[in-house]
């Protein structure tokens, strides 16, 4: 290769040859192998050289634009930061001002409140005085303090001196007391228990022979029926409403209904009434893993129990208790008012170990 050759190659590649020269050149390439090889090499060399320059030039532009973008982004961040800080400052000023205002008003308000509190104190004292005088006037009322019971549940009177509750609530009991708003605390004794269906019958000696007006429903109630209960989940009588959600209880136990009713510990042993005020069951348990699932012993089970008892046992009591009475047609509230005295808070004491 020599300078003339490179000139020729350059001219050919830049299309600067005349047609005649061009055809001569192409003929030489096709016939002279060495010439062809030299030309190919030269072509690759100059092409790569150009591509190299092109790339380095365009990369300069790219770098420049990239810097521009990066600077813009950091500027944006700065602007954003400024915005955030200014908003934050505004919020801080607002909070400090409003807290000053709030503190001032609060101070005056609390002054007023202390006035109210002192007034209230007086009133309480007054009330106390009145209350004490009242207590003095009722000389018969004896003040008794009770140790806190180990367990609390609900029971309801069925006939005479007899109460129904669940077996598990009086299980292992040392002594049992019953109490409600109409009856001061008095002792009860279990006279009959059935572990299988979780039922217990209590006898309260100090009761006067009461009639409970209870209608025991001896058929099965239907799914979807509205039900309600009265019980002692707290120190006072609580009313709750729900429905029968399934005919059978836990694991399809036919002795129980599945009910949906908000229940708490202490509701155990409470009566369940249907819309007509008929006793259809006794609250037994609830499923702690599922929401709104509780179980109640069917009233028909109590009937079956009564029928299965031998004549020389408590059968006579059960018979009398569960004489079918006509449904109560009264309003629900009237019914509750009427039945309220028959529902007892049961206190169960265990032997101290």
């Amino acid at each position: 290769m020599n300078p003339t050759m490179t000139d020729l190659f350059d001219n050919y590649l830049n299309n600067q040859l005349s047609d005649k020269e061009k055809s001569e050149f192409e003929l030489k390439i096709n016939t002279n192998q060495q010439f062809k090889e030299d030309f190919e090499n030269y072509k690759l060399l100059t092409l790569s050289l150009n591509e190299y320059f092109e790339k380095s030039e365009i990369t300069k532009d790219f770098e420049k634009w990239h810097t521009e973008i990066s600077e813009n982004e950091s500027k944006k961040v700065r602007v954003l930061w400024f915005r955030i800080t200014s908003v934050a400052a505004g919020v801080a000023i607002f909070i400090s001002l409003s807290s000053i205002w709030f503190y001032n008003t609060f101070k005056t308000e609390s002054k007023n409140q202390t006035k109210e509190i002192t007034l209230l104190k007086k009133e309480i004292k007054q009330i106390q005085n009145q209350h004490n005088s009242l207590i003095r006037s009722f000389q018969k009322i004896q003040k008794k303090t009770y140790a806190p019971a180990n367990f609390q549940s609900t029971g309801f009177a069925i006939y005479g001196k007899y109460l129904i509750t669940t077996w598990h609530s009086i299980q292992n009991a040392d002594s049992i007391f019953v109490e409600n708003d109409f009856q001061s605390r008095t002792e009860a004794k279990p006279v009959y228990v059935n572990k299988n269906i979780d039922l217990a019958l209590l006898y309260v000696p100090s009761f006067q022979n009461k009639k409970s007006n209870l209608h025991l429903y001896n058929k099965q109630s239907n799914i979807g029926n509205t039900i309600f209960t009265l019980g002692f989940p707290s120190a006072q009588l609580v009313y709750n409403e729900g429905y029968i959600s399934a005919i059978n209880g836990y694991n399809s136990d036919t002795a129980y209904y599945q009910i949906t009713l908000p229940l708490n510990p202490g509701n155990s042993g409470g009566p369940i009434f249907d819309n007509k005020g008929r006793l259809i069951g006794v609250i037994v348990s609830k499923n702690i893993t599922m929401e709104g699932v509780a179980f109640a012993l069917k009233s028909s089970m109590i009937c079956a129990l009564r029928d299965s008892l031998p004549a020389d046992s408590l059968k006579i009591i059960w018979d009398k208790s569960f004489k079918n009475r006509s449904p109560l047609n009264a309003e629900k509230q009237a019914f509750i008012e009427q039945y309220k005295p028959n529902i007892y808070n049961i206190y169960v004491y265990h032997k101290e170990k």
Binding site: N2, T6, L45, S48, E51, D61
Partner: protein, 205 residues
């Protein structure tokens, strides 16, 4: 941002073909974030994202400048596809771990562009550019400036002689020939020397 202007795909294509810097800059601004996202969300950082974008644009410019070039999808799909493949290769090069399948798969079925062929051409080209880079480094500044002016800027020998302080065009021409011979020698040298310095060999997979 000084240049928020965007162009249509066709305007971009013709802008690249005619070396329109303004349009190329608009293209750069428009697609930088998209390509950066590919790198950043796949174990990349700002620096590698920049490199990926620049390489993607190199491929794009090179491909578009060919006469037979035809856009078979939207420009953004085209750029995305190129960048994705380049990044995939980059990741494969750096680690042996396999990549997420969805990243590996081809996205647009209607896109009939043969990206593999396109990238093979690009790889070959990059290989030569790297070789040229090394060869030029051995050459010295005076030869570099001379060759650049003659082959890239396409100045006349008279002008080159004037700019670089040669006595006349013939001296410059003679010098250019000598430089070219040296460059040729370096460029076609045994590739083993080159493989020690560069890792382009692993690109050919």
């Amino acid at each position: 941002m000084a240049l928020q202007k965007t162009y249509s795909d066709i305007e971009y294509i013709f802008g690249i073909k005619s070396d329109n810097k303004e349009i190329l800059q608009a293209l750069y601004y428009q697609y930088f974030k998209m390509v950066r996202h590919i790198a950043i969300t796949n174990r990349g950082n700002e620096e590698s994202a920049k490199d990926l974008f620049h390489e993607t644009l190199m491929v794009l410019v090179h491909v578009v400048k060919k006469e037979e070039f035809q856009l078979t999808s939207s420009l953004s799909t085209f750029i995305y596809s190129i960048a994705k493949r380049l990044w995939l290769k980059e990741l494969k090069k750096n680690s042996k771990t396999s990549l997420h399948d969805s990243f590996d798969s081809t996205s647009d079925l209607s896109d009939t562009t043969n990206y593999d062929e396109l990238l093979a051409v690009h790889t070959e080209k990059e290989k030569n550019i790297k070789k040229m880079h090394i060869a030029l480094q051995q050459l010295g500044t005076s030869c570099f400036e001379l060759l650049k002016r003659f082959y890239f800027t396409k100045l006349s020998m008279e002008k080159i002689a004037e700019e670089l302080g040669y006595n006349n065009a013939d001296v410059a021409k003679n010098q250019k020939y000598k430089c070219l011979q040296r460059l040729k020698k370096q460029f076609f040298k045994d590739q083993q020397v080159l493989t020690l310095n560069t890792d382009y060999e692993s690109d050919n997979d």
